[in-house]
């Protein structure tokens, strides 16, 4: 049974509910790390699920549902980032205004996230897709429409950039 066969048994509404429950938190956090702004991230994740819902008929199962949704969310983030006003006035809620949980571990302070979120988009995107979404270099290359060597090079450069900021913490290969 293919993934498409499984999904065809779900009504579009049920599938939307399942996708929001299954992937919603992760995609919202991904969008936040892409946009550095809570309100924009919420806009992006809403738009992503809406676009996915409207395109359910076109999803052919060539990639995993997770990769497909990530691709849509990434495009929504890019669209928002490109909107004129995004760069003109900072209206957003940045990381320091997101409440940290009471039992947060020492390593989960803002150092790591801030360093990643300050990477240029061309480094941040593959970094988050690989280390947060758990996607393979091959999958990222297909999603970003660049060769695998480019993804690997960007990940390598990103790690070098992060190394200076994160002396006590590093990304595993």
């Amino acid at each position: 049974m293919t993934r498409c066969d499984e999904f065809e048994r779900e009504s579009p509404d049920l599938r939307l509910e399942r996708m929001m429950t299954q992937y919603g938190d992760g995609l919202l956090r991904l969008c936040f790390m892409m946009l550095s702004d809570r309100a924009l991230a919420e806009d992006a994740v809403q738009e992503a699920f809406l676009r996915a819902y409207q395109a359910l008929d076109h999803f052919r199962g060539d990639s995993s549902e997770y990769t497909w949704l990530t691709s849509i969310a990434l495009n929504c983030c890019r669209s928002l980032r490109r909107k004129a006003w995004f760069r003109r006035v900072d209206l957003g809620v940045p990381l320091e205004n997101i409440p940290a949980p009471g039992n947060v571990s020492d390593l989960a302070d803002d150092t790591v996230l801030t360093a990643v979120m300050h990477l240029a988009p061309r480094y941040r995107e593959p970094m988050l897709l690989h280390y947060y979404q758990g996607m393979l270099v091959k999958e990222i290359a297909a999603l970003l429409q660049v060769p695998e060597s480019t993804v690997s090079a960007r990940l390598r450069r990103a790690r070098i950039k992060l190394k200076e900021d994160l002396k006590e913490w590093y990304f595993d290969e």
Partner: protein
Amino acid sequence: MSRPFRHIADERLADLRMDERLKQAVRARAAVGRRRLVRRRTLRLAVVMLLLLMTATAFALTRGFGLFELMGTVMPHFSQVRPEAEELVRRDLSSFSFPHVDVAVREAAYDGRYLRVAYSVIDRAATAPLEEPGTDLTSDREEIFRFVAAQQDDIRWTTLDWAEVGGEHVNPLGMSFSVAGPNNGEAITWVQFDVRGLSLPDTFTVRLPLRGADTPHELDFTMDKGDMRHVYRLVPPPDKRIGNYIISIQEVIISPIRTYITAHLIVDPGVPPQKIWEIADRWMSSATLADEDGGNPQRWTDTGAGAVDNMDWVRISLPDGSFDFEDRIVDPEKPVTMKVIPEYAPPDVYPEAFRFGHSEQDFILIPFVKLRSPERDR
């Protein structure tokens, strides 16, 4: 000691959740979409056809894929510029051959506000155009367009996300797109970079993030500003009170490519945030720039608005334990300042005074009196 990045991010961002409020927003929008599906499809088709016809007409008339003709890809009137805009255009600035593709910066124009660039990437092995010339390769497509030759050379053929202009890092701003060019295997990309505030010499270097897998550095080129006599500011008029707010024109830049306006709306204390945004929205979305008598309105091409003083966007906790965000006035005793930044396609003839406004009552006159060139003014 190391832990997976995902664990750390999830732990730190635990407060960010796809909660019921967000899910309900998606459900509501999805439900609206279902009800309007048929009507929207019909309407959209009509609009798209109109745009295609008008775009095709523009291409047929100009028979070109120059910087300004390409702007009409988004909306036909976006390509409207004054004749002297041509004096700002610099052509055939740089080219490089990679194993599979040739890259050429065909045209660029600097007008003090933006650096606009059009560059082409050509698959040398192609025997036909990538698509019907003028077809948008990146937007509203059923399937992603894959430019295999460019990917083989590691060339970013779609929009660019940064540049260095005169040694300064700049970002793209506003629209960007890629279309099929008239030559075999050709994609042409148009992008504009925000260069406001840069103090550039007459001749400056631009570095675009176009590089192949084995090339030592990004594609560089040098260009001069061109004839900047036609780029200048107007003297801002005195502030004008309109009801419970004052409009203060901060800057009017006349360029043969666009007319750029920056205005502050200083709203009296006591006006609630919702009303403040209604005021700003009207100036952002509905204001026209016309002759003194309201005739010959210039067409809107871009806009934006936001609070710049005394109003923040803050998180609030709700009684049920969830949260939301709202605008909050910092000091209720002081006015709130909003900023609006519309841009307009230039007119054929500049009037003696502009009428900038959105209704019979809500407008301000801007006499056409030159200040100084933005360049000399810096």
